[in-house]
């Protein structure tokens, strides 16, 4: 017994244009094209246009790669730039260390407790715990006003933000809120999935440098956190590591590039 065939969709027609129809769909698509000759003719034309475009652009990828785009060239230039600054930077650091050492010994300033990146995780966890159990007011501004929310939080944090689209991971935006973060401000975006599980993205201004992704787990709740382009990020949920990593990478990808926009102002 054969199961009824899935109806032909836009995806099947596009797959035809791209020459990527899976073998098990070929017969059904051919039959459908026979019954819909007009659409078949359009699809055939679009396939020709695709081939024409490929043919037209092919010579560009066949050109020799310019020397300035070699990885080795770029790495050498980076090393040189760093080497130029290194002696001066080291001198400043040694001077600053001496100064700080003096201050610390005199009890003027406390020694740093932990790296700023850990602070991002602490604050991300705290914000998660505070608002994730909130039923009446989980967010300050609802996802229905997403444009307003994003604009407002971007202005307060001083960087272009967006509420990343996590629908590919089953999470839908609920909304967000502004939060205090040390001397500055932070923002929280909250998402939930169909089962009502919540995920939060915490963003904090006033960081420096950049770090790799770090992972921390407290009970059932996990967070991936990192610093990039002056901002700390923490993605927190009661989810397993691989699921959370996928969502965190989506956040990272979608946030990347937004900040360079601000730098170019």
């Amino acid at each position: 017994m054969t199961a009824p065939e899935r109806p032909i969709g836009e995806d099947d027609v596009q797959a035809f244009v791209d020459g990527r129809v899976p073998p098990e769909r070929e017969a059904a698509l051919a039959a459908w094209f026979d019954a819909n000759p007009q659409i078949a003719a359009r699809a055939a034309l679009e396939r020709q246009h695709r081939d024409l475009l490929r043919e037209r652009l092919a010579p560009l990828a066949a050109e020799p790669v310019p020397a300035r785009l070699r990885v080795a060239t770029i790495r050498t230039a980076r090393r040189r730039a760093r080497a130029r600054w290194m002696p001066a930077a080291a001198a400043v650091l040694i001077f600053a260390a001496g100064l700080a050492g003096g201050w610390i010994m005199r009890g003027e300033i406390p020694p740093p407790r932990e790296a700023p990146v850990a602070r991002v995780a602490d604050e991300g966890f705290a914000a998660y715990r505070t608002y994730v159990s909130e039923v009446a007011h989980p967010v300050e501004v609802d996802a229905k006003q997403e444009a307003h929310l994003v604009q407002w939080l971007s202005r307060r944090l001083g960087r272009p933000l967006k509420a990343p689209d996590l629908s590919g991971y089953g999470y839908r935006l609920m909304g967000g809120r502004l939060l205090p973060a040390g001397q500055g401000v932070g923002a929280q975006f909250m998402y939930d999935d169909q089962a009502g599980r919540r995920l939060t993205l915490y963003v904090r201004a006033g960081e420096s440098g950049e770090t790799a992704f770090r992972f921390r787990q407290e009970g059932a709740v996990s967070t991936f956190y990192w610093i990039d382009q002056g901002f700390g990020f923490a993605v927190t949920a009661a989810a397993d590591r691989s699921e959370l990593l996928a969502a965190s990478e989506a956040v990272y990808r979608q946030m990347e590039g937004l900040a360079t926009d601000a730098a170019g102002h």
């Binding site: 679009e46 475009l53 043919e55 050109e63 790495r75 689209d165 950049e210 937004l258």
Partner: protein
């Protein structure tokens, strides 16, 4: 640790082609590729080690392109018409070349999001899922942009170079 050079360099020709098709200016396209590579090299440690390097590079390049495009739009146009040259014609039949010129010109008139999906999928051989990851949208959105973009391209090519009439349904 995989070697950056071995992982990244094979994708440079495709990145240059994609950048040119988006910008239509050789120098600026290569500047964009260079910025993309600098960024990729500085973030090599941040990337997921088993991730898809090609999709990652294209994501960086496109994000940089979008943020520049927004910035330039605020500043006003700076593109000179002389710079809008076409790539060297392939040695195919002359009448084909005319149609090919049209295909590039028509592509250039599409909105950026449709142009990007057509290029990523139709020219750079990305899967629908890879394109969705690069653009940060669901696969369904990629399919509908692809479908609409290709339809628009076809209508432009069918009707000559005239402005596309909005069809009322």
């Amino acid at each position: 640790v995989p070697d950056i050079e071995a992982c990244v360099e094979p994708h440079i020709p495709a990145l240059r082609r994609f950048a040119w098709a988006l910008i239509r200016n050789r120098e600026e396209a290569d500047d964009l590729v260079q910025d993309c590579l600098e960024r990729a090299i500085s973030r090599w440690q941040l990337r997921r080690s088993d991730g898809d390097v090609k999709a990652w590079l294209f994501t960086i390049l496109r994000n940089l392109h979008i943020s520049r495009w927004r910035r330039d739009r605020r500043r006003g146009p700076v593109l000179s018409l002389d710079e809008m040259g076409d790539p060297p014609a392939s040695s195919s039949q002359p009448d084909q070349t005319l149609a090919a010129k049209d295909v590039l010109a028509s592509l250039n008139e599409l909105p950026e999001d449709q142009k990007s999906v057509i290029l990523l999928i139709g020219v750079e051989d990305m899967s629908y899922q890879q394109a969705a990851d690069i653009l940060g949208v669901p696969v369904g959105t990629v399919m509908s942009r692809l479908s609409r973009g290709r339809e628009r391209l076809r209508l432009r090519l069918e009707s000559g170079r005239g402005p596309l009439l909005r069809r009322v349904k």
